[in-house]
Subunit: 329 residues, 2 copies
Amino acid sequence: MSKSTIYDIAKVAGVSPSTVSRALQDHPRIGTETKARIQTLAKSMGYIPSAVAQSLITNKTWTIGIVITTVADPVVAHNIVDGIERVAYDAGYNVFLSNSRNDPQRELAVIETFQRRRVDAIITIASELGKAYSQLDRPIIMVEHQEYGNYHHTVSTDSLGGAIAAVNHLIALGHQRIGYVGAIDRPVSNTERLNGYKTALEQAQIPVLPELISLPNTDNDYERGQMGLAEILTAKPTAIFCYNDRTTMGLMKGCEQLQISIPQHLSIVGFDDIETVSYLRPALTTIRQPRVRMGQIAMQMALDLLAEKIPENCILPVELIVRQTTARI
Amino acid sequence: MSKSTIYDIAKVAGVSPSTVSRALQDHPRIGTETKARIQTLAKSMGYIPSAVAQSLITNKTWTIGIVITTVADPVVAHNIVDGIERVAYDAGYNVFLSNSRNDPQRELAVIETFQRRRVDAIITIASELGKAYSQLDRPIIMVEHQEYGNYHHTVSTDSLGGAIAAVNHLIALGHQRIGYVGAIDRPVSNTERLNGYKTALEQAQIPVLPELISLPNTDNDYERGQMGLAEILTAKPTAIFCYNDRTTMGLMKGCEQLQISIPQHLSIVGFDDIETVSYLRPALTTIRQPRVRMGQIAMQMALDLLAEKIPENCILPVELIVRQTTARI
DNA sequence: TTGTATGCGTTATCAG
DNA sequence: CTGATAACGCATACAA
């Protein structure tokens, strides 16, 4: 039974409720012995303070609302959530987790329930909304935001740099006809990766050919890979850089069906370095993203904001992990 | 600004706060026109009710606490959480998500914060605790509980049946020397799978050999696979059934290093059917677990409990997915 | 150091 | 149908 209140304890202890309140929160102005006495009494009575009552009066809930837009990408998102939860917990916060199911309408609804619950801060992952949040009266941090504009606090990975590294790697291996399979449902990071792709090619004075770029009309990663392959193949690529690892996996499946062997006939680079990808055969060459770290940083930014400090937006560096899907032409 | 209260609205509307309260909750005893008038007014004033104040008086928070014990298994857990969140959200609940980092001490702490927050129900995933919760004064549902005893409401997958199906499949392919690599950090499901393994062998009148059973001392799935392989190999198995897919992946990596080709030299079956496993080459034969469904059912059980209905514990059926890692001997 | 009184934003129980 | 008033569980300014 957690039904006892400070009133009950006060009655039993023969003191006033405020004394109990003070004893329970290590208030300075209270006798050392009464404090100890009341604390043990409270424990023996199985007292558990009501966070909701506390929140009502202190106007602080010690909660963070996380909204994941993307059901389609739990593999990536989970690590971010994990990172957030860890630093949140250590700082005394609990996190609400909600799915917007990739529906802006629903995302708005989620945000509103978070406001109703008076969360102290909100963190969105891969949200396509942005300006909609400019009037929110609490801190909001956007991880991998997918709408251009700098209304907010953001943390992202260096998509541009990652893409450049990926394509440079392919170029260094002698490839010239390099394709890109992108994701239209991720406007910002896709654009960044596409730009990185183009940049690398231009720096190497390799022409950027439209027929080597595919932006399949789907939000399913695997499908995207298969569709992208089919589309680009006629342009005779010797290598392909994909928006993410799962896209790569779909693409590799397509290659298998067409008897295209990797990396002999075609080199492939992904993005994310999701857990299982090193167990593929051939093991995937990809760009590693510090996902847990992103979550930690996002939450740290929230903590800063809550402490009236203004954090810098940040773009985390990525790392090229060379494995077996890329080879000299 | 969500700073306005029913008091402010009352003042503007020229009515009493209680009238506002009633208007906002579609109370029967209120005039149709005043209701409408107040509702639109509230909206125009950007009023957002305080869930914490509501909770304080109604003694209901519309929150569910989820505790994941296992950092080691996010791939599996995420789907369950997803299932929970979906039905929770549709029923008007928000979920708290917390990590116990596989530490019972910490799990207890998490449960206590959930109690402080007055969550309406708690769902644990793969918890090793159980009797510790028998005195909780709110519904608790344990998904894939890892402590024997029937103190609580539980939902699990049919580990026993799944293991039998897996091993029967191998037996049908002519295998006799079949190994098992298990997980000591999952007492219940591991025991069930081990029992299923033994049962299938016994039914086929194949002797159960201790040297074909390995329970590596690690909680890292991949490592476990490698260790298990090394241990069992001396007993010359022709097939191995693993506790889960990630164990299988570690094991397959070990085989590769030892030049053991799958399924020619060794057949392998996993458990879980995690997303990426169909993209391995050879693609993994495994037991599919309805994870999202588990989450949905767990949350539905919570809803039932909250509605004073007593739900039946349930063990979800699994399905053998035959792919490429198993072959006739 | 301790007790008293008040208020946080709502809902609910009464009267009117 | 509507308006006072109490209550939810706690923290805090103020008084003692």
